[in-house]
Symmetry: C2
Subunit: 97 residues, 2 copies
DNA sequence: TTTGATAGTCATTAATTTCTGACTGATTGA
DNA sequence: TCAATCAGTCAGAAATTAATGACTATCAAA
């Protein structure tokens, strides 16, 4: 859309959508897996979770890793950039909630 | 919806919608007026601005003031709570943008 | 070898959000 | 007194987002 590099707008765009904040919160506790997320986040669905994961990956919040070991699966890990949000959200929490 | 007092979810809910972040940013510079906003925020419309202002007022970010002087008009001012967001967004800006 | 799990995609439908245009009613300046 | 400005509301249409269900393809265990 427009150019304006507004931090509020930027943040809002990054975590926009119904499921991203929940996915983010879960990602802080450890790597995520697609089907596990689907079970953990009640009311969610494949399509939306898939889109949210792809978005967050493209924004560099999550990193998709194909684990080529043992049972061969895919993991989504919180990136450095993603981790940098944590203290800000903590400050937010202590200020408003 | 659910109970979970998640700061990300909370923030997102507070600034949800197409126009709230722009309204917020403008409110930092001084009091807002309905028709002026409509002109300043290009692409916006009465209905959406009215709803956004009402929401932000209910969330305690803005305060509606009827100025019973001279030309008699209505102002929306950034509240204490609203102002508390400013340093957080600044931190956000310096970290990510 | 059949079953179940993982990790998705795709097209369609449903739900939610936003926009448009018409209207209201008070105030103010010419 | 007439026109314009301000600050909205409301119903319906349009646009955007999210959900459903069917389908694909790989892997592993029984």
């Amino acid at each position: 859309m427009s150019d304006t590099t507004c931090p509020v707008e930027g943040l809002l765009k990054m975590f926009a959508g119904k499921w991203k904040s929940q996915i983010f919160r879960l990602s802080v506790d450890g790597p995520l897996r697609f089907n596990a997320l689907l079970r953990q986040i009640e009311g969610s669905n494949k399509q939306s979770i898939a889109v949210a994961l792809k978005d967050m990956e493209e924004q560099g919040i999550l990193e998709k890793v194909v684990v080529t070991q043992k049972p061969l699966h895919i993991e989504y890990n919180l990136s450095e950039k993603g981790r940098a949000f944590v203290p800000i959200f903590q400050q937010l929490e202590s200020t408003f909630f």
